[in-house]
């Protein structure tokens, strides 16, 4: 990761970057207790305006998944072309006591993905801007094969 040469979070609302232990940022309603990601300025369940920020657990279990096998049209952004597109995994990860979060997965081999798999948050570069700035996104990675592949 190229924090030293310039990188930024794809959206600063999602996680703080650079950070040594990045975590996803959520909001909790002070009236009804509902948790929301991405963080909102009001509650997605009851509409109350009083919300507090909190961070989500960094580890969880795979709850649902698929492999994206065709390159999405715009607004999808990556360094790839249709010819060099590599299918990517995505899923929902169940974060204990919090929420299931929809996320890119670092694994794209369906044989290596199963519901219940232990997963951990990582931050990876999704695309490079013209000035070389790496635009960082979050993904979840199977804990055993954490560094096996790039999303």
């Amino acid at each position: 990761m190229k924090a030293e040469t310039g990188s930024r979070a794809v959206d600063p609302l999602l996680f703080d970057w650079p950070a040594s232990e990045p975590a996803l940022k959520a909001s909790r309603c002070l009236d009804c207790g509902a948790l929301a990601f991405p963080a909102g300025t009001s509650c997605r369940r009851c509409g109350a305006l009083k919300v507090a920020q909190e961070t989500l657990p960094r580890r969880g279990r795979l709850w649902a998944w698929t492999i994206q096998r065709f390159m999405p049209k715009a607004p999808y952004r990556s360094a790839e072309s249709a010819a060099t597109f590599t299918p990517y995994g995505l899923g929902y990860v169940e974060l204990p006591g919090a929420l299931c979060i929809e996320s890119r997965l670092t694994e794209n081999d369906p044989g290596k993905l199963r519901i219940g798999l232990e997963m951990e948050l990582i931050i990876y570069p999704q695309w490079l801007e013209e000035d070389g700035t790496a635009v960082m996104n979050f993904a979840f990675s199977p804990i055993a094969s954490k560094r096996a592949s790039r999303p």
């Binding site: 997605r44 698929t66 999405p72 999808y76 929809e102």
Partner: protein, 380 residues
């Protein structure tokens, strides 16, 4: 007071490069008016919508600019259902006696590419590759298969049935029957779904002429009545399209909310339904929607599909016109296509695909982004 459907018209689904979406809508409108024995100038109001083919009130340029009130409806996959509901209320309120509902569309090839901003989502959601409807259906299905032991064979059986029914429907797009193995072995699009298990964005148009219940027999020998029409949006925490999160505790989805409300409105239950049209943007959607609309227990679909219960000759025929799988998905038209097919079935006028047993009650259901559903219950 119920509202009567006294005229139906359809323009063939699929690809029609020589006609704009609006022109296809006008074709459907002319056929619906002819079916009801009425003229465009007799219409006291119109409701209609398209997602990609322009404002529905542009129909006036084709049909005649009569000064009538015409309201454009833009409600995703619930566009047709929402237009029909608004039209029903127009008549039930006493404001009008007769009017028209039109849905049409004309989409580019390939998957939809919606704008995150239009759905209240940050740009990041699309930039990182999560703003793709097919992913949602695949992930929901993957979870469902895990929880309820649904097999890939069952997914293929739904698609096989759709193309068989499409082959019997002159207005369908995909009219070539495909075998189970061919469906299973076509390229995977989003695991576990293959190319032939998905519908494609397409073109097409449907129109309905509606009137007061007590005038139905003036315009139709076999009117069909709207016993319930309901549209619902999502609840916080439900598992829905373009949803960055799902709550840990299960929450009823938009389909379940709309379905329950429709049964309650009609005073009927799933056991009263003789024929159904359920949103089948992919074959897993039809399977999940069977249970969510109350037609079976979760997991029971495995046996029902194996035994052919949802075929035209089965106990509860589903998507007798081939559904979205065989007709494609023109968003503005699909909901009204379901109603068009159910009216044909209730009239006994569905030709080669007519359900052979006596039918009195039909059910239609659409579902789409970002968690909207519309359900109608129709009766003779």
């Amino acid at each position: 007071m119920r509202v009567a459907i006294v005229g139906i018209g359809i323009h063939k689904f699929g690809r029609t490069p020589e006609l704009s979406g609006v022109q296809q809508g006008a074709c459907a409108a002319r056929r619906a008016l002819e079916d009801a024995g009425l003229q465009w100038r007799d219409m006291q109001f119109g409701y209609g919508g398209s997602y990609s083919a322009g404002n529905a009130d542009a129909l006036g340029n084709e049909m005649g600019l009569t000064g009538m009130p015409f309201t454009n409806v833009l409600n995703g996959c619930a566009t047709g259902g929402s237009a029909l509901l608004a039209a029903c209320r127009e008549i039930q309120s006493g404001a009008a006696d007769v009017g028209i509902v039109v849905g049409f569309d004309k989409h580019d090839r390939g998957a939809f590419n919606a704008s995150p901003a239009e759905y209240g989502l940050g740009a990041w959601y699309g930039e990182v590759g999560m703003m793709v409807t097919t992913q949602f259906f695949a992930m929901k299905l993957q979870r469902y298969m895990h929880e309820y032991n649904i097999s890939v064979d069952t997914l293929a059986r739904v698609a096989e049935k759709a193309y068989q029914n499409g082959a019997l429907n002159p207005n369908a797009w995909r009219r070539t029957p495909l075998g189970l193995e061919e469906i299973k072995r076509s390229p995977i699009v989003n695991d576990p779904l293959t190319k032939y298990m998905f519908c494609s964005p397409a073109e097409g148009a449907v129109a309905l002429v509606l009137c007061r219940e007590d005038r139905a027999h003036r315009h139709a020998t076999k009117p069909v009545f709207v016993s319930a029409g309901v549209m619902r949006t999502r609840l916080a925490g439900a598992f829905e399209v373009y949803g960055p999160t799902v709550s840990l505790a299960p929450v009823a989805n938009a389909t379940e909310l709309a379905s329950r409300a429709a049964y309650e409105m009609a005073g009927l239950g799933p056991g009263d339904i003789d024929v159904a049209a359920l949103q089948d943007t992919e074959s897993g959607a039809e399977i999940m929607h069977m249970a969510e609309n109350g037609f079976c227990a979760h997991g029971e679909q495995e046996r029902l599909l194996r035994e052919g219960d949802t075929r035209i000759t089965g106990r509860l025929p589903i998507n007798t016109d081939g559904g979205c799988l065989a007709n494609g998905e023109p968003i503005g038209a699909s909901g009204l296509r379901q109603i068009h097919e159910c009216v044909l079935q209730l009239r006994g006028a569905a030709g080669q695909r007519q359900v052979p047993h006596e039918i009195k009650t039909a059910y239609t259901h659409v579902y789409g982004a970002p968690g909207v559903s519309a359900v109608t219950i129709l009766q003779k």
